[in-house]
Amino acid sequence: MNDVTAQEIDRWRRKFERERKARLQAEEIAERFTRDALHDPLTGLANRALFLDRLQHALSATGRHRMPLATVVLDLDGFKEINDSYGHAVGDELLCAVAKRLTEAVRSIDTVARLGGDEFAIVIEDVDEASRVLVIERIKRALEAPFLIQGQPRQVGGSFGMALSRGNIDTPNDMLRRADMAMYAAKREGKVGHAMFESGMHTAMVFRLEMKSALQRALTEREFILHYQPVVELPGGRISGMEALVRWNRPDGGIVPPGEFIPLAEETGMIVPLGWWVLEEACRQFSEWQARHPELVLHVNLSPRQLHDPQATANVLEALSKSRLLSDRLVLELTESSIMQDVESSLVAMEKLTALGVRMSIDDFGTGYSSLSYLQKLPVSVLKIDKSFVDHVAETKQGAALVRAIIGVGTALELQIVAEGVERVEQVGRLQALNCRYAQGFYFSRPLDAAAMADYLVGKQGPRPPGPRAD
């Protein structure tokens, strides 16, 4: 009896031991599953789910203790190219190297996560001003040092944005979104950049998004209108031509200044359809005036995207033929900086347009660092001196000397010189003395809508009296 009991006790003991061990194994497995579910299998970093969870905890703590909390979002520049040209294995290796550097760049208590693709994020708790600067520096250094790609050191770089909460941000997604916005702001600034989220950024981004869709609508709804600013001849102030300028007449009233929507249109590519519409409309309107003013020329701005549009020649030709405008009456204006972005291909594209008989003008001259050798090569016949030089022409000796030099270069290259942004009578006098032949600006006339321009042309709203003779 005793023996049996002892055996049974033994069996129970073994059974209990087996069950205990099985339970431990089950716990280990559960732990591993949790780890796998919350970590990026490639880099071993936290994944998005874990990142959001940690951020949520950190945000609650920040709310309670008022300790500032930072979130950094970053992505690599040109990761896709590396993946495409070296293969995914090399791309994966790079991601692991970045993960390692980021982990080393922050404290062990900070959470580094891979959100997906080449996008990383870091939660940094309890950051004061000094440690924030330090963290930014360390992340920047981590990205700046070259990475070994197939044994070759290669600069990769990235952009990152930081958002900061002092208890004022509630949700992880909100925090991430702000850091994202800061990152995109950094991206716009250039490579290996970073930016801090500023409270205006959200408003700015919402504004940009709203503007973007409004622009799209405006294009289809034809909310754009053209104004025309006279270009006059010096001395005398007789009109020699006009520049077409686009204005956005929003249905809710109010005209949006071009400075607010042109950059956005450039960025989104909408400048291309908009720009071609401007050309066509300007040619159409101008040709109505041409019959009675055959000596006038029309200046129309061309964006760099339009210049490189494969349809450029066809579109210009169409605008001319629809309006029956002679090609030598049209001057297409390109800013100096847009030509210099890629001077060789600009040259080719410009030559195609001049082959049609239209003339080209360099706008905002003096601001785009063009070299004189290129100036000689470019098929331009008009040069517009930027307003920033004209502003000082009557004020300082240096200002006058600069304009004199620009006019000298332009004249030597047999270009027509137009001074832009002329606002005061003293400037007119000085420009005349420097032998500047053409001018444009509020002093002579602000941009006029089509009806006002028609009046201007028939003398109802006569040209300004000429400025005083040079003394």
Partner: protein, 185 residues
């Protein structure tokens, strides 16, 4: 092999042979015996346990596998009733093995290596009551499959006669299990 199979074996042995037997078999096979359903354990350990169990019960290795498969079916039906309740009979149950049951098993037990079955219905008069199942697995546990089929027949209260026209254990490239169904008289 996944721990769930070892758990089933323990349940079957305890129910059919007795609690003491399982303890004895573990000791005899030199196995620690701590199995958790999601764990992975060596295939040899399973083979050792079955070998010891076969000797304990006076059966051959093939017989014991089939016996295990057949008696484990009620436990499976208890654990995973949804695999069974969707079917009115054997045939549709078997046909759901690859796409439903084993697909779920892979989700429940990540890393589980489940066999893929090939199904074939003969032409002619046999079409309705015969299903030919092709089994291929490096574990070569066709007897277990046969036992499972017999167990499922019990669950659905059907009769099935399984004959193997070829077997990997006899050197064939695959096992072919010919199932003939019939309602009990």
């Amino acid at each position: 092999m996944k721990g769930i199979i070892f758990n089933l074996l323990e349940e079957v042995v305890c129910q059919q042979v007795g609690d003491d037997a399982w303890d004895g078999i573990l000791q005899g096979a030199g196995a620690e015996g701590a199995y958790t359903s999601l764990g992975n354990y060596p295939d040899e350990e399973f083979a050792n346990l079955l070998g010891y169990l076969a000797r304990h019960c006076g059966k051959t290795d093939r017989e014991i596998l089939k016996w295990f498969g057949q008696h484990s079916m009620p436990f499976l039906a208890q654990r995973y009733p949804e695999f069974f309740s969707a079917h009115h009979g054997m045939r549709s149950f078997l046909l759901s093995l690859n796409d439903v049951i084993h697909a779920e098993v892979r989700k429940l037990y990540p890393g589980a290596e489940v066999p893929v079955f090939g199904f074939e219905t003969p032409h002619g008069a046999d079409a309705h009551d015969t299903l030919i199942i092709h089994y291929r697995s490096k574990r070569r546990l066709c007897q277990l499959a046969e036992g499972f089929i017999a167990g499922a027949a019990g669950h659905f209260r059907e009769q099935v006669v399984v004959t193997q026209s070829s077997c990997m254990l006899d050197g064939a490239g695959e096992c072919v299990l010919v199932c003939r169904f019939g309602k009990p008289a």
